[in-house]
Subunit: 232 residues, 2 copies
Amino acid sequence: MTARPGSWQAIEAEVLRRIHARDWPPGSAIPNEADLAQSFGVARATVNRALQSLAEAGILDRRRKAGTRVALHPVRRATLRIPILRHEVEAAGQPYACRLLARDEAPAPEVVTQALRLPSDAPLLHLRALHLAGGAPHALEERWVNAAAVPAILSAPLDTISANEWLVANAPFTSGDFSIAAANATTDEAAALACQPGAALVEVLRTTWDGARPITWVRLLHAPGYRMRMAL
Amino acid sequence: MTARPGSWQAIEAEVLRRIHARDWPPGSAIPNEADLAQSFGVARATVNRALQSLAEAGILDRRRKAGTRVALHPVRRATLRIPILRHEVEAAGQPYACRLLARDEAPAPEVVTQALRLPSDAPLLHLRALHLAGGAPHALEERWVNAAAVPAILSAPLDTISANEWLVANAPFTSGDFSIAAANATTDEAAALACQPGAALVEVLRTTWDGARPITWVRLLHAPGYRMRMAL
DNA sequence: GAGTGGTCTAGACCACGGG
DNA sequence: CCGTGGTCTAGACCACTCG
């Protein structure tokens, strides 16, 4: 488990140790790369690799000329892996299924068109699907797809493959928003998810873009008991 | 905005372009580093930097000898910044306050001791606090601190500084778990958060460790309307 | 202006792991 | 075995930004 002496991981661990040991307290400046390299007996590039890793993790603040400082408030970052629902379910050892509940091209609500920065009369494909895990409802998906950006979706076999999965394979995106909140189940949602009306549900909102072109807006309502886990 | 030609960012962008353009479709192998370096006219280390960046982002799968492949299912990662609550509130332009509701050393529930992998009779400090934003309830915090690992907390002025902030400054951690779920407000919680009983609340569970030593377990209940946002 | 991090190069050796 | 990625080195130049 211990990194090879002289490796950048070893340097990283040693720097971390000194920070935790308060040798280098929060807010203080640490020696520059050249000095550290000499004192550790490695090349500067190796020190650079270690410090960049720590900076990326938010442990250090680095600025040219100003030098490297221990972050005053180490803003912790958690990385959330967002799997395809099918994979998530199957990874839990349960059979997955997806049922297409609705599909139409009705005009989208303002919330959606505004989030996608599209005119309110833009032609959007509307989909509603229920994801099942082991026969039980897992999540309810409400989706709007920008048909202008992904015309092929109009002829996609969405009763065979979930829109989620089809889009991942056919419409790569470059950026997006992702947010999590809690919502009480409406009577309709409760019926679809086989839970009590008013039950607390995890609500995930996602918008994706390919460059400047909006691709899709989706709202996922997870069945009660759902929990998103990450490591710190 | 465009990266300098020959920089690793430029290589990264070009590789990304070829992936999006389906020159290198999902699952396919791409040339090895040496070949790419030659064709791009840069050193192998530069190509390595670019490909490592893409691998870290989940776009590429890299294995020694097996080479580099375009990830079949680009598992998207969202990085969530976990700020100190006070900062989060103040960043929203609202005055922050924290009220300590309870503090005792009663035995902890099994859920807590098990999550911390401690014997069920381990001495834990129990805290309950209400975080306020602009005078309105923002989040309810239920916390258990491993007094054995952080004895100084027993004499910390927790009516002045939130336990959250005190721990960040005085008890660095090396790893932790983080999970998000939704919960209906109990009558007690509703009273504290000034909302309706049964309201859907975002529940955050966090456990932190310093090496093998458990530090703290905390449950945060956010007031209705709370939303965690991240970029993809 | 000058110090510091950011990056590139050319070359080398190593570790992993597929065939 | 041996090809591929992972990493280290020594040296160099650049870019940013603080003073």
